[in-house]
Symmetry: C2
Subunit: 388 residues, 2 copies
């Protein structure tokens, strides 16, 4: 399990890291960086992202000060309204926000146990912060290949203060339970007196699939976390929303964590700017994801997970050796100028794969160049498979 | 003690907060905000502070990514060099950095006990994060009126993993032990196998008094924290420095805390910009503090703590009722256009007081206007005292 965790942690890190590993992977990263177009994301994560967000902001706008002031209070109110919750608190990170949410629910029940998916961010990306800082025990629901269903929760052992659901389940390509399942889980947890927390890092991204508002999804949960640098493409930061009583406790913990910074406005202003710019484009990203996944699935030897995306993201798996897949992507990126991925990872005994999240970048690529790229990709794969 | 803590916490918050409390205090805050000149600080904490820092930064400079990348690595290296330590790690806050430092030293000794001043930031401003998140016990050295001396450490009970010294001791006006005392404490702790941590939030600010480099002071400590929004006047952020082994553990804890943000560059770039702009001006701020304190001490009924500042900061105490002092400051600010303070607090059974930290703003005020203001202040106080 330790090895497995490490691998998952690695795939995530590589999506954004510059160095893609050893040998061939470096070449893949280089070829990716040199392309003019990219299939995924919103463009480069550089200082321009911040400069653009600040451009229209009056220089006399006053900083937030330790969680107070117009900048932070207005944004928190706006997000509380969006999520249909009484109040919301801006955090530097989702890691901090979610650990705190779980701690509050555990304290309320005087019961240090929570349940979540085995590939939850808390389980594989946070160096066991929840366990090391709070001594909270965790129960892993479902298995690594699928989302949590009602049965998983019904069958779990007693004495759990809170269940965390991640929508979409990122590490398995961004899969989702049905909305009906969510409703059933929500009412079951309510009956049982179990708190339900939403890891909605990518909450806006799943709304087009569910055909629901953020508030309609959030209504099923006692507390909700949402991120501003995934589909929204901000710089960093997160919102934690819930009742006034809940968020007021979360502010005390935010200070304990050292997250109550004197000024969080660089993140808040950019979160707000890119929220306004992109919140309404999630359906477009979702459609792009479905279109792009279909194009990948046409290539023999490639299969996306899920086959039909349910958000703006999916994973691309190769029925090839890792080195073969790397060589192919490198060549295709060099030939076509389209960046597909800067890394490929093999997770446990799975096939080599990479993650893709659709954003503004995809629409910049002329359709015929995308089609052409897939032709080249198909051809390259056939070549390699013939040679075997 | 609880009430006392709250008061100290309040004084700190008020220095930067917009609303200065109830009734008269609001008028004081308003009159302060309306002045053209301010005695303390570097000017307004508004968006311009960030815009100025970014002005010369190329928009193509790439973001740091989860603690990696040129922006963060270069700055960490620069700060490690400044502090004469092997390595350094950039943190979103000092609260986070210092709790982590103490936890690492406690783990190393398998001993969950540390010692610090009763008015340490950890004791009064962090909602007991150290205790709640780490179950670390604390021993309070010296008393609330003075700095920690060698004897306090020699007399403390056995079984302490780490002693934290804060230079200068902010909550008592920024007082300092002698450098000789520091050397003695350092060698005593070394002999006893006790780790010594420096709360150097205002480390650069004390160097002109000690006539030492940052590395010379840091050499006496096993780990050092420094802030970028005090004398430096950046937006937020902190450095934690020490051995490679120490900082590498601190990075794991930084992730556990949710402080390993995908992008910290807004804070890093501004920390670096204002470090370059102001690190060399600490002697000037120190001289201004001495000059200004002397002017305050000429006024009957006012006394600074310390009488002669040893850094860029000091506290101003009134031998008056709080309401009287507020009315006087409000009137003087309105009459002279010089901002002295936006709040006054009464700490425990002490006299009403406010804190002042010298920065760039002081030099902008023509000397004759400052002298004039002190004339008006003196006159106002005499008036009030005569009426009594």
């Amino acid at each position: 399990m330790a090895e497995f965790k490490k691998c998952y942690s690695y795939i995530c890190r590589n999506i954004l890291s510059k160095s893609g590993g050893k040998g061939m992977a470096n070449t893949l990263r280089e070829s990716y960086n040199q392309t003019n177009y990219k299939l995924g994301n919103h463009g480069k994560r550089n200082v321009q992202v911040l400069k653009e967000a600040l451009q229209e902001i009056d220089e006399n706008v006053e900083s937030d000060i330790y969680g107070q002031g117009k900048i932070i209070e207005d944004f928190q109110e706006k997000m509380a309204k969006l999520l249909g919750k009484e109040t919301a608190v801006f955090f530097p990170s989702g890691t901090m926000a979610q650990q705190i949410a779980l701690r509050i629910w555990c304290d309320e029940k005087d019961l240090g146990k929570v349940a979540y998916h085995p590939l939850s961010h808390l389980e594989i990306h946070e160096q066991d912060g929840l366990k090391k800082l709070h001594k909270i025990e965790t129960i892993l629901l479902a298995d690594e290949t699928r989302v949590i269903e009602l049965e998983d929760i019904k069958e779990m052992e007693n004495g759990v203060a809170c269940v965390l659901l991640e929508l979409p389940q990122r590490e398995i390509g961004g899969q989702l339970p049905s909305f009906e399942t969510l409703v059933q889980i929500s009412s079951y947890c309510k009956e049982q007196g179990i708190k339900l927390h939403l890891d909605g890092a990518r909450l806006l991204e799943v709304l087009p699939f569910y055909q629901k508002t953020a508030a309609e999804v959030s209504a099923l949960f006692d507390s909700v976390y949402m991120s501003f640098y995934k589909g929204i493409g901000g710089i960093a930061g997160a919102i934690l929303a819930g009742s006034r009583e809940f968020t007021s406790q979360s502010k005390v913990w935010k200070r304990r964590y050292g997250g109550d910074l004197i000024s969080l406005y660089p993140y808040i202003l950019s979160a707000d700017y890119y929220y306004e710019k992109r919140a309404s484009k999630m359906a477009e990203y979702y459609e792009s994801a479905k279109e792009l996944a279909a194009l990948f699935n046409v290539c023999e030897g490639i299969r996306t997970l899920p086959i039909v995306p349910v958000s703006n993201m999916f994973h691309v798996h190769f029925e090839l050796e890792k080195e073969e897949a790397e060589a192919i992507l490198t060549a295709v990126q060099e030939m076509t100028g389209i960046g597909i991925s800067g890394y490929i990872n093999v997770i446990n005994e799975n096939t080599p794969a990479f993650e893709i999240s659709l954003g503004d970048a995809y629409k910049d690529i002329p359709t015929e160049i995308v089609r052409e790229m897939f032709g080249v990709l198909s051809g390259k794969i056939s070549e390699v498979r013939r040679e075997k």
